[in-house]
């Protein structure tokens, strides 16, 4: 029982990262119809930025947790204005290729400056202990990640469901062809939403720095799973991406713990789940079937 609870907890922590990344991808896809392949690269930049801030300027983890998402969000907005929006009218494949190219450039820039070896980043001292839950104890840092992410998701949900901006984003996501007909200027929200999505990726990166290897390829490895999460949740579905993020984290943790005698299954379980979901609901768990054009 204790083992099960521990694995469940762990699954939720992994899921928190998937949820943050998938949420960003979902809002970006919803507003811009862009599959942002560079999302993993921004996650990597978040972690690397935290490392550089700490070693070059002595900026602690807590400050990096604010600076990096804001900075990367602004960078994202600049990129959206400068290049991405020029391609949104064309086939989505163009932006897919553009963001893929962007990923390679960002990775290689970091690689040429810092090399491929992982950079050290310590857990902030206030969070380095462990919390006793009676049945088991758990690293404080992981408890923090879970609590922080859940709070953040609730905040995003509140913004989306209770504010005017949220209403526009939801409308544009769910009925992209109909929203402008009501006289809503979707265009002015596109850039901030893109920046917000990128900011979330950067935030996930900062959170990952103390517990994951910080190197130029860390995002490239993770993003494939995150794409699977988004597809399972339903492309463009905001609630679906968060739910699928935590869900996949759980499935993976349980798979590794209880199917370790069948490594082939436990290693591919995310993609098995994806295949089953797509066969059963082609639009994903929470996705809306595309109406025929």
């Amino acid at each position: 029982m204790t083992g099960f609870l521990q694995n469940t907890f762990n699954g939720l922590v992994s899921g928190a990262f998937y949820a943050l990344l998938a949420l960003g991808l979902a809002v970006i896809f919803g507003m811009l119809r862009v599959v942002n392949f560079a999302h993993g690269a921004f996650y990597m930049l978040g972690a690397f930025g935290a490392y550089v801030l700490l070693t070059e300027a002595g900026v602690p983890f807590w400050a990096a947790l604010v600076i990096m998402p804001l900075g990367l969000g602004l960078l994202g907005m600049a990129l959206e204005r400068a290049i991405i929006h020029r391609l949104t009218r064309l086939d989505p494949l163009y932006n897919f290729l553009l963001t893929f190219g962007l990923t390679l450039i960002l990775q290689d820039l970091v690689k040429s400056r810092y090399g491929v070896q992982s950079s050290p980043y310590a857990t902030p001292s206030a969070l380095s202990g462990s919390v006793d839950f009676g049945l088991f104890d758990f690293p404080t840092y992981r408890v923090f990640i879970l609590g922080f992410t859940v709070l953040l998701c609730v905040a995003v949900w509140w913004v989306l469901s209770r504010t005017r901006i949220g209403m526009v984003v939801r409308a544009a996501t769910e009925r992209p062809e109909l929203t402008p007909a009501f006289g809503i200027d979707v265009g002015r929200w596109v850039t901030p939403v893109f920046g917000f999505g990128i900011g979330l990726a950067g935030l996930a990166g900062v959170l990952a720095a103390p517990m994951r290897a910080v190197n130029p390829l860390m995002g490239a490895d993770l993003i494939i799973v995150v794409f699977a999460v988004v597809v399972i949740g339903g492309l463009g579905s905001i609630f679906g991406s968060v739910a699928a993020g935590f869900g996949i984290g759980l499935v993976q943790a349980w798979g590794e713990a209880y199917l370790s005698d069948f490594p082939i299954v436990s290693q591919t379980i995310v993609f098995i789940v994806m295949a089953v979901v797509l066969l059963w609901r082609p639009a994903g768990l929470f996705g809306r079937e595309e109406a025929p054009a």
Partner: protein, 410 residues
């Protein structure tokens, strides 16, 4: 007629130009070309990569300085290529080096699967190959051949040193975590054998996904702490960035405080640098060479740092040594003919900056030499950058490596 006589003059001209004019050309193309084939952009590019090329260039400079005008040739060049850790790329690049770039010997080649491919190419082309960067014992086992030498280390050496000593000194019960592919499986087998031989027991083992895209090992680490009987040692066979993930999470879950020590299968100085010595303090592992072991190593490390800005990994030192020993062998043989050079190398005893009490075994072409049991220092004892370990014990060459395998048929 005119063309024929011109050709005669040309041939005579070439022969006369060399130091020993004679009928046969002693060097193909009148030069020696060393090929460095390794990972120049991926996971292993720090521990080998471009700095291996620098190490080989240092060896060439030292060789020229040593022999001066008596050197067999002053025309020694380096060819280099990136195999991206992919066996098929390694295969194509190796063939290109031997056939089109006039390479006499290929050096380095990390990543076991790529290393084995290059051994096949060397055999087919009848050209020399000193493997430095890869760990698989198959290079001197079922894939051994006349032209392939395994120079620096292998999975047996790592398991024998770390597995045996940790079982004797830290604890008998092990949990082994390995990346589930050729290298990891080979490491798990070698370690299990070494642990059993030292009277220990593997109470649990798991193959983690490779590559591990999630970067998460917590379910394995949690399992280790709940096993019955409880393991006293966590043996991780992960390498590079994956090792960094395992150790970060090992510390996060405070397994050391729960009485589970850490043993690392394969670690390079660059990994300790990434994790900081504090994260690894007290961890023992087997090292093929350490830059601050003695004065001779340190002098080499200082020169290397001047060239590259960083301290050498054991792979860098081994590349230097391998290039040097090859050039010495060509000098002694008076030719770069592969069969003649191999004959000169087999059974040769060598001492240099990398090889201590070294011997190039004729039976399987394993290069044996002293290995070192090393321990990561606590942060407080680190007095200068990159000086992260102390050598606990020298493992004599004869004990460090396995006896020639029956699988090897030259």
């Amino acid at each position: 007629m005119a063309a024929a006589s011109a050709a005669v003059v040309l041939v005579a001209g070439c022969g006369g130009g060399g130091p020993q004019s004679g009928g046969d050309q002693k060097l193909t193309g009148d030069k020696i070309v060393l090929g460095v084939l390794n990972d120049q952009s991926g996971a292993y590019s720090e521990l080998s990569g471009k700095n291996s090329v620098k190490a080989v260039e240092l060896a060439i400079a030292d060789f020229k300085a040593k022999y001066g005008d008596k050197a067999i040739t002053k025309n020694i060049t380096v060819e280099t290529a990136d195999h991206q850790n992919k066996p098929d790329v390694a295969n194509a690049k190796a063939a290109e080096m031997y056939d089109r770039k006039g390479v006499d010997i290929i050096l380095d080649v990390p990543t076991s699967s790529a290393a084995l491919k290059v051994a096949d190419v060397a055999k087919e082309k009848k050209k020399l190959y000193f493997n430095i960067g890869a760990a698989t014992t198959d290079l001197t086992g079922k894939s051994c051949n006349k032209y392939t030498f395994h120079y620096a280390y292998d999975t047996y050496m790592l398991a024998n040193g770390t597995g045996k000593t940790t079982t004797e000194q830290v604890g008998k019960n092990w949990y082994i975590l390995y990346p589930n592919y050729a290298f990891g499986q080979d490491m798990e087998k070698s370690f299990s054998a070494a642990i059993a031989q030292a009277g220990g027991k593997v109470v649990g083992k798991d193959g983690a996904p490779f590559p591990n895209t999630t970067g998460d090992y917590s379910s394995f680490l949690l399992k280790a702490s709940t096993l019955n009987p409880k393991p006293q040692v966590l043996g991780t066979m992960q390498a590079g960035a994956e090792l960094v993930n395992v150790v970060k999470q090992y510390n996060e879950f405070k397994l050391r405080e729960k009485g589970i020590g850490l043993a690392v299968g394969l670690m390079f100085i660059t990994d300790i640098h990434s994790l900081t010595p504090a994260a690894l303090a007290g961890t023992t592992y087997t090292d093929a060479w350490y830059w601050n072991f003695d004065q001779q190593n340190r002098e080499f490390a200082d020169r290397f740092q001047k060239e590259t800005g960083t301290r050498p990994s054991f792979a860098h030192a081994a590349n230097y040594s391998a290039a040097m020993q090859y050039l010495e062998a060509v000098q002694a043989a008076g030719t770069d003919d592969a069969d003649t050079v191999v004959k000169g190398l087999e059974g040769k005893e060598v001492n240099d900056v990398f090889l201590r009490n070294g011997k190039i075994r004729a039976e399987d072409h394993r290069v044996i030499h002293d290995a070192y049991l090393a321990q990561v220092k606590p942060q407080a004892e680190v007095t200068e950058p990159w000086d992260y370990v102390k050598v606990l014990k020298t493992i004599p060459a004869a004990e460090a490596f396995r006896a020639p395998s029956a699988d090897c048929k030259m």
